[in-house]
Symmetry: none
């Protein structure tokens, strides 16, 4: 896990990087926004610890920049602030910072928060899995297993199942299903969606029953059996 620390105070920066490196992270320090921007052009970290007070470009500016770009807006950011800055603290939280540290903070606390934020923001980073009972969809491998048994799904079937599993319990209209999976407007009066639901149900065996039909509406994945 790559962590970048943007902090102008060299001694703080060094101890942050040192601590993180000795805790199985790959930490890199940056003394100002410019150096940080340079690095960002060629690489992306998994988390950023950002001092709110920086020479040149302000930390809040930088946060805004990160959250505005679709490339970087998903990278979690922990803001480091000086004491007695409640207003700025709130401002940065509302700008999309994921947590913050009030200086002076202990290294134990920093590591805890880094871990907590990573856990929170990348719950699937470990493995991109969607589960429901004995049903497991592995998004990385693009595979599906039913009770540890690998089954073969076609693309549409896979995408349908993914959609259902990432919104368990939610009822989708055929329209929505078509929009999400096919990416087009559902106009035709054909049984296309129903057809794929059917093949999916068959391939899922007993778990096929989890896909309930909501008469007059569409389909829903019923969780909890």
């Amino acid at each position: 896990m790559k962590i970048w620390c943007v902090e102008d105070d060299e001694s703080i920066r060094d101890i942050e990087v040192y601590t993180l490196n000795s805790t199985d992270f790959e930490a890199t320090g940056f003394s100002d926004a410019a150096a940080f921007h340079d690095a960002l052009a060629t690489d992306k970290p998994d988390l950023i610890i950002l001092d709110i007070m920086l020479p040149g470009e302000d930390g809040v500016e930088l946060l805004k920049f990160l959250k505005d770009s679709p490339d970087t807006c998903r990278i979690p950011v922990i803001m480091a602030t000086a004491k007695g800055m409640e207003y700025d603290k709130i401002q940065s939280l509302d700008l999309g910072a994921d947590d913050y540290l009030v200086k002076p903070f202990g290294m134990m606390e920093m590591v805890s928060r880094v871990k907590a934020v990573l856990r929170r923001c990348n719950p699937t980073e470990v493995e991109h899995l969607l589960k429901a009972g004995g049903l497991v969809v592995n998004l990385d491998e693009h595979t599906v297993t039913v009770d540890r048994e690998r089954i073969q799904l076609t693309l549409k079937e896979f995408e349908l199942l993914r959609l259902f599993l990432s919104h368990p319990g939610i009822a989708f209209t055929r329209d929505q299903l078509f929009n999400d999976v096919w990416g087009a407007d559902y106009i035709s009066e054909t049984r296309t969606v129903d057809m794929h639901i059917r093949t999916l149900r068959v391939k899922l065996g007993d778990y096929g029953k989890m896909i309930e039909t909501v008469r007059g509406v569409g389909y829903r994945l019923e969780v909890q059996a």
Copy 2:
């Protein structure tokens, strides 16, 4: 959004509840773990603010309890701690608390953190629920529960109930009902609407009595205080 505050200090608890309620949340305060457990038996909040130091059962215990049960482990928890408790603070973070507040904390900060955690934990949309007593209509799931028991409604019944629940106490003429649910003018002298009202009443069991007939006009959902 329901928020439950578990805090033994009455003045702190009151101001928390007051602030949250005046910020469009539905906050409820609990002075100890026992009262909280009682409430949890019949309802579930969307977020919990939990004091780490409680009389009787400890806040950390309570957090552990919440995170151990599949029913409650997804409810985000913000821990409130006294100053100078770094060790416990870290412990609670690692137990799965989603954030924490160090006393004394400002109400502005509390609201900011509550919002931030809710944003983080409910990235999708808020659940769209319509409620009246033990009657719950979940628009996303397209489901209806009566005293936590799922019941099966047909489309027309569902739409009728939705219409009533979103305008509690309002009397609708058959004309209006037909317009809203069927999307057409009600001309015929048939018993169509009455028929659906009947089946709905039957399926709702005791709650069926909530649908009152307004003689000469139509129907109304009577809500109890």
